[in-house]
């Protein structure tokens, strides 16, 4: 079977439209980041998180009322299923006190529907701020490492364009997290440690797709020597299209499985990667290589590639 046999799509001439779409998406994301901000999980703002599960279905509103009366502040919402509740509070004291407070209040009121404390996480403020630094360092480290690696294997312009593509992907996904954060109860889209992992994975995935296209461009530049860059870039994009779509497709499918089956704990994570795969695939075709081409056309310097093919 073959889905994309011998395509001849003129990607390069569509690039200005693609830039426009991307620009709108990124700006929408940035605006939302500025005005709506992100929902930070306890990993990044400190606090305590308790996940409860009742034996039978229960209305969140009732639980919220009971816990409010008992003096538990913070947000109380359902978590994944009709029986699970997530309590997020900035409670800073003894975890044990909170545990007894919650347990006693709920046992008193819902004695016919016993509950179980599935998980309690408490993160102090200093840990939270360290995590923020570690996350920033990791993202920065990824950018530098990619600049170096792609710069050495290809050329500086290729490296810079791939960074543009990565920022494009990360900002669009961040923007979606900001826009949709807290909108769906089943998927709160809090920014926590695993989301940082998702962003690095997206960066790695985006560069992975991009590099395959670059590799083909390099090969074609060497074999053709014509200097008709728009044509070479377009041929390379078409030649790798099948692979790009298929690999993205298989990865998308597996992550979709994760999203559906793996439960609320990594739903936000798999959602980030799902969006990241779509955006990353798009950017490796419409952003990364076209940016290199535009840069080249403007500077008029011939592309001199390093590395072996």
């Amino acid at each position: 079977m073959q889905l994309f046999s011998k395509t001849d799509i003129d990607f390069i001439s569509y690039r200005k439209i693609a830039y426009g779409i991307s620009l709108v998406l990124v700006i929408a994301g940035v605006v939302s980041l500025l005005f709506r901000g992100l929902n930070y999980g306890i990993d990044f703002k400190g606090g305590t998180e308790v996940v409860l599960r009742f034996e039978q279905e229960i209305a969140v509103g009732d639980v919220r009322q009971v816990l409010r009366d008992a003096g538990v502040s913070g947000s109380i919402k359902s978590y994944g299923t009709e029986r699970s509740i997530l309590v997020q509070t900035d409670f800073e004291g003894d975890v044990n006190q909170l545990r007894t407070l919650v347990s006693n209040a709920l046992n008193d009121r819902f004695s016919e529907n016993p509950h179980e404390l599935l998980r309690i996480d408490a993160v102090g403020p200093s840990i939270a701020s360290d995590l923020k630094w570690a996350a920033l360092k990791a993202l920065l480290g990824a950018v530098i490492a990619i600049l170096l690696y792609v710069g050495i294997r290809f050329e500086f312009r290729f490296a810079a364009a791939s960074i543009v593509a990565i920022f494009h992907d990360v900002f669009i996904v961040l923007g979606i997290f900001s826009l949709l954060g807290g909108v769906f109860d089943v998927m709160p889209l809090d920014i926590n440690q695993s989301i940082i992992a998702a962003f690095l994975t997206i960066a790695g995935y985006s560069i992975n797709d991009t590099v395959v296209v670059y590799d083909r461009i390099r090969e074609n530049i060497r074999s053709q020597k014509s200097g008709d860059y728009p044509k070479i870039f377009n041929t390379s994009l078409n030649q790798t299209l099948s692979r790009t779509i298929i690999t993205s497709g298989t990865t998308f499918l597996t992550v979709l499985v994760l999203f559906i089956f793996a439960g609320p704990a990594i739903r936000g994570f798999s959602f980030a990667i799902l969006i990241g795969i779509v955006v990353g695939t798009y950017s490796s075709i419409f952003i990364a290589a076209p940016v290199v081409l535009d840069w080249q056309l403007r500077s008029k310097k011939p592309i001199r590639l390093r590395g072996s093919s």
Binding site: E116, D121, A122, D130, A135, V212, L258, A262
Partner: protein
Amino acid sequence: MKNKRFTAFLIVALTALALWSLWPTYQEYSYNKQLSRFSSSEDSLAFVQEHRESLDNARAKSLKLGLDLKGGMYLVLEVDLIDLLDQRAWNKDEQFRDILATVKERASDSGARIIDLLAGEFSRQGIRLSRYFYDVRDTDEEVIAKLRDEAEEALSRAREIIRNRVDQYGVAEPQIQVQGARRIIVALPGVSDQERIRKLLRGTAKLEFKLVRDREAMLAGLERINAALEEDVESGSEAGEDTVDVLANPLFEHMTVMENGRVYVPQYSRDYLLSLFQRDDIARLLPKDTEFRMSARTIEGQDGTQFHDLYLLKKTPELTGNVITEAKATFGASAMQPEVTMKMNAEGTSKWARITGANIGRQIAIVLDGAVYSAPVVESKIPGGSSVINGIESLEEAQDLEIVLKAGALPAPVRIIEERTVGPSLGSDYIRSGLLSAGWGLFIVAVFMIFYYRKAGISADLALVLNILFVLSVLAGFGAALTLPGIAGLVLTIGMAVDANVLIFERIREEIGQKKNLRTAVETGYSKAFSAIIDSQITTLGAGFLLYVYGIGPIQGFAVTLMIGTAASLFTALVVTKEIFDLLISKNLLTERSFG
């Protein structure tokens, strides 16, 4: 041809190695299955005894599950190095305390080294460190180096002591490691009594024997503090303290003084008074070298309020816990109260004999982590080096005291700054949903590959299965734990691992499309796809590596499986599938049509 044979041998050998490394996991699984079939506990006990050795062996070498899958506690402890600095400093004054307070504040929201923050603050204020630390002739660099050594030493000693405590408490496969310059990570799978663990880890276990000052001195001290507070209230300088605003007796409102001179503090006032007594201007009102301490245990008043006993103690301890060689939790002879008996070393024994001999008829308080456990009156000289802690609530508490006393005192207090608890039922939910995702992910990708690439797809699927086998066996072989994010990494790897094969197969299709013969098409396909594969896999490996370095705990699990999976896919997708194709071509089982 010889080279070919070597590749085939390598594949077989690696597969065998992987299976061998996963064998104990299978063994444990089948034992557990057999165990769950027994209806009576005698049968299963007999079975366990019969197979003890192989069962233990299988458990030790099988694939470990992370805390999130198994349930348990994950804690991050911070060693209070500020306290250590405070202990080490000489002639402390107001300025020193100000600097420490600044350092403490700045340390609370950053992971920077305390010593660096301290040195920075000193140089900002233009003071030499040697004014407070070590020898006055030391240069700043020397002091910093010494302090840094001491901080490192304190951290590693704290880790050892915590390990001792955990070992004696009895947790299977605990993980205790130092993180950064002042943190210790403690992972305790399967523990259920969280409050007990918290107490066990948090206590400094600093044991001190201190002389109790007479009641008159204590009451006089309290009078002076009360008077000073009254003055504060009148002059209005105490605006922040709303608790003492309008009271006539600002201090005595918080305590009950009995006829016999004993002073009781209600539980709700404990924290306020403890912080009040810490204040410099208050401590100055007490006789030299004395301090207030409260009893660990409370007694119930008539209206049900819990009261602590208040003591005025000589600040310098007569003896400290480092002379203790043995501790044992037992029940006391009278009244069957739980207590802990202690034995001292030779030095401690002779000192203890001298101290008790010199203070017959007076009270000596046994103070653990600042709380008075008991303050018995010395009746006679104690020559044998023995002592008893009583005033303990329960046998459990006595046993925990035994553990912390045996393990020794922490060089500085530790605080719990992060705590994650996973109940066992959540863990089994995670395992079920994780396995379900992995199974579906594998199934979908495998079916797609066969559908899209026909016979070639089958070889890619074989490579994929081998890849998963390698990831699991590396995890088991190196004793790394499988976590929920780890399973997520594995599922993601399933999707990405076929990438190399997709690259190769697409290339081979192109070559076939250019009417090359099959063998040449396969060879060129592999060699031309090679550089793209290397570049793309190295970037993925790089992202995984960064995640591993900067991520903590659960995220590292994700990074590890992603890295192993990517590295293994280089072997399985490049070497294994090539070997299969070569075999098929030589047997004329592969045609141009086999690539779909």
